[in-house]
Point group: C2
Chain length 404, copies 2
C-alpha cells in the first residue's frame, strides 16, 4: 500500500449525485492508516494546476454526509480539457504535494486525463495510484451498464414529460422539449418512461443516433396531431442531418443571425424555438410551444433516484478500495448482474478513456422515433423508488340536449 496523500477532484458537468461519489471516496480514504491527508481539488484539474486544494480531512463527517445529498459539484468543476502538457502540469503538482492516490470523478474526457496522468507517473517512476470514478448524465461511458448521474437526470426528464403530457392534454397543441445529450440519446429517450396510457406523450422522440430530417419530422408531427389532436415531442439537442450537420445550424439558414453574428448552440432555447417555427409555418398549427430543459435537468434539487444515490456513493467507495488493496490503475465501472442488481469492476483506463457510447440499436424502435420495451426494462429500475404516477378521469359522456 502506497503511503501519502489522497486527492479527489470532480470534472465536467455537475450531476445530482456527483457529491455522493466524492464523499464516498473521502470517507473511505479517511479510514486508511497509510493516508496522511485527504485533499479536494477546487474546480477540477484547473484547481490542481493552480494548487487550489481543500483539506477534506478537516471536514466533519456530518457535513460530508449533508453535502453528499446536495446536487452539483461541491468541489467545483471546470470545462478545461487537458492535453498532454496540461496533464504533465497536473502530475508535477501531485508530485510536489506528495499525492499517492488520485481519484477523478468525471466522464470520457476526465477518464482520459486520468489515463495520461497515470502514464506520466509511470514514466517518471513516481508511485501514484490513479482511479477514474464514472459520472455523466449523458450515460455515454463505454463498458458501463449506466453511469451515476444519468438515473437522476433521466428521472427528472421522465417526470417533466409526465407533467408536460398532462398539461398538453388539458390545453391541446404541439409541445416540443429539447433535452441534453449531444452524442448519446439516452436522456432524451428517458422521456418515454413518462408514458402510461397508450395515447400519452411523448409521441415522438428524436435522438442523435438517427439522422434527423425536417420533412420527416413535420410529417410525423402532422400524423400525430391528426390522430390525437395534439403532439408531445422529445428532441435531443444533438440531432443532426445525414451529413452530421447539427439541425440548429441547418434551420438557422432560414432565420437571420443575431446582432452579433452568432447563433447560440447550447444554453439557449434556439433549437426548440426554431422547430416550433417550422411546425407553425408549415403545418399551420396555432398552439405550438417549445421548452428547453436546460440546466434544471441536471441540477434540480429534490428529484433524485435513490438507486443513483447509492450507486454513486458505492463507485466512490469502491474506487478507494481498488486503489488500496489493488496494484493497478483503472476506471471503476458498473456491471448489471440481475433485475435489479449490479457489481463494480475495475477496468483498464484505456478501455474507457475518451470513448463514447451511444444508444444500442435494440433500444431504438424501428420507426426511429420511439424506444423499445428492452429500453424500458433497462431504464425503469434505475429511476429508483417513489416514482410519481398520473391518473385520469373516465370519459362517461353525458348525452347532448341542445345540439343533439
Amino acid at each position: 500500500m502506497l503511503h501519502g496523500k489522497v486527492l479527489v477532484a470532480q470534472g465536467g458537468g455537475p450531476t445530482a449525485v456527483i457529491n455522493q461519489s466524492m464523499v464516498g471516496a473521502v470517507l473511505e480514504s479517511r479510514k486508511f492508516r497509510n493516508v496522511d491527508l485527504v485533499y479536494g481539488a477546487h474546480h477540477g484539474v484547473r484547481g490542481i494546476i493552480n494548487e487550489e486544494f481543500l483539506d477534506l480531512t478537516q471536514e466533519t463527517s456530518h457535513n460530508l454526509e449533508a453535502v453528499a445529498q446536495t446536487p452539483s459539484s461541491a468541489l467545483g468543476s471546470t470545462r478545461d480539457k487537458p492535453d498532454l502538457k496540461y496533464c504533465q502540469e497536473v502530475f508535477k503538482v501531485l508530485q510536489a504535494h506528495g499525492i499517492a492516490y488520485f481519484f477523478y470523478i468525471g466522464g470520457n474526457d476526465s477518464s482520459d486525463t486520468v489515463r495520461i496522468v497515470s502514464e506520466e507517473a509511470h514514466k517518471a517512476g513516481y508511485p501514484l495510484r490513479c482511479i477514474h470514478i464514472p459520472k455523466t448524465i449523458d450515460n455515454d461511458l463505454v463498458h458501463n451498464d449506466h453511469t451515476p448521474g444519468f438515473p437522476s437526470a433521466a428521472r427528472f426528464v421522465a417526470q417533466a414529460f409526465m407533467g408536460a403530457n398532462l398539461d398538453n392534454s388539458a390545453l391541446k397543441g404541439v409541445y416540443i422539449a429539447v433535452v441534453m445529450g449531444r452524442h448519446a440519446g439516452f436522456l432524451t429517450a428517458a422521456s418515454a418512461l413518462g408514458k402510461k396510457f397508450p395515447d400519452d406523450g411523448p409521441h415522438l422522440i428524436y435522438i442523435p443516433e438517427r439522422n434527423f430530417s425536417v420533412d420527416s419530422f413535420l410529417g410525423d408531427v402532422k400524423a400525430c396531431y391528426e390522430k390525437h389532436g395534439r403532439c408531445v415531442v422529445a428532441v435531443s439537442e444533438g440531432i443532426h442531418d445525414e451529413n452530421g450537420a447539427p439541425i440548429i445550424t441547418k434551420l438557422s439558414k432560414d432565420v437571420e443571425k443575431d446582432a452579433h453574428g452568432n447563433i447560440q448552440l447550447s444554453g439557449t432555447g434556439a433549437l426548440a424555438d426554431l422547430l416550433c417555427e417550422e411546425v407553425k409555418a408549415k403545418l399551420g398549427i396555432k398552439r405550438v410551444r417549445g421548452d428547453t430543459f436546460g440546466y434544471v435537468q441536471r441540477s434540480f434539487i429534490g428529484c433524485v433516484s435513490d438507486l443513483d444515490q447509492r450507486e454513486a456513493r458505492e463507485v466512490g467507495e469502491k474506487a478507494v478500495q481498488y486503489a488500496m488493496w489493488g496494484a493497478v490503475d483503472g476506471s471503476v465501472t458498473i456491471q448489471r448482474t440481475g433485475f435489479y442488481s449490479v457489481d463494480y469492476k475495475l477496468l483498464p483506463l484505456e478501455m474507457v478513456a475518451g470513448k463514447t457510447r451511444v444508444m444500442e440499436d435494440h433500444f431504438i424502435a424501428e420507426s426511429g422515433t420511439d424506444v423499445t420495451d428492452a429500453f424500458r426494462m433497462y431504464l425503469r429500475p434505475l429511476l429508483g423508488s417513489g416514482m410519481p404516477d398520473a391518473f385520469r378521469l373516465r370519459l362517461n359522456s353525458v348525452p347532448k340536449i341542445l345540439k343533439r
Copy 2:
C-alpha cells in the same frame, strides 16, 4: 337548497393542484341529497357551449382521489375568454341541462365568467348558484392571501434556483432563467427562497412591478460578476420598460425577425436568449447561459407543496358548502389568520372578478432587484414540508508549494 345537477369546470392554465379543487367539489357535492348528478365540463367553458359533459357521479371515489394527486386539469381546459354573448350561451346550456350549481375553478378571467353567468341567471329568474374557486400560479387574485397552485409552482421555482445556483457555483458564469408571470412577479420572486448562504444566487431578481432598463440590468450583472465571479439572475417573462413595452420586443429590434416575420412572446426561449446576448456582447463575459422554465414549472409531477394540496382541496370543498348552506353567489378566497393558518371566506364575485393583484411594495426591496424579509416570511410556509436543503464544503485551503 336548490335541487338539480352540479357542474364543475376548470379554466385557464393548469396547475399542480387544480385537480384537488375539482375533486374536493365533486366529492362534497356527491354527499348532498338535493344533488341529482355531478357533471364535469370537458375543456372548460368551451366544453359547456359544446355540451361536452362527463358524468362524474359514475366515477369511483378511489380514482377521484388518485386524480386529485395528479397535476394539470383532468377535465381539460381552454384559453377561451368568454364575452357577454359567450356567457349567455353558457347559461343557456346550464339551463337546458338543469344545472343548479355551477363551480368554476380558475383565475381572474374565469371569475369574471362566473360573475356574468350569475348575472344572466338572475336576469332570467333561473335559480342557479354560481361559485368561483380560486386557482392560478401567478398569485394575482385580489382579496386572497395567495391562490392555490402558486405555492407548488413557487416551490418548483425555488428548488430549480437552488440547483441552478449550485450548478453555477461549480461552473462559474452568468445564468439567467425566465419565470412565468406576465403582470405579477410573485413566481419570479419565489426564486429568492432558493437562497441559503449569503453569496447564493439568485443575485438579481427582475419583476414586472418595476420598470426594466437594459442598461441598469447590465450594470447590475457587471457589479455582481465582479463581486462573486458569477451571477444568477431570475427574470419574469413580463418585464417591460418605463412605457410598458415588453423588453422582448425592445431587444428584438437588435435582431432580425424570423423567416415568417414573427418574434415569439411566450412558450419560447427568446427572452432569455436575448438577455444572454446582451451580457455577452456588452460585458464580454464568456460563459453566459439562459434557461426558460416554461411549462415544466406549472405541471411538473413530484414537486408539490403539501400545504397547497390541502388548501386546493379545501377551497373546492368549501365552495360546495357555501353553495349548499348559503344563499349568495361568490368567490371563495383564502385569508391568512396566523403563522401559519388560514380561513376561507366567500366574497362577492365583483370584488375579485377580472381584477389583477401585483406584488405589494413591502415585498420588494429598495433596489428593485430583490425581495424583503416580509416576502420570505409570507412565502416560506406556503412551500410546504420537506423542502430540500443545500450544503457546501468548508474552505480549509491547503498552502501552495510550487506557486508560493
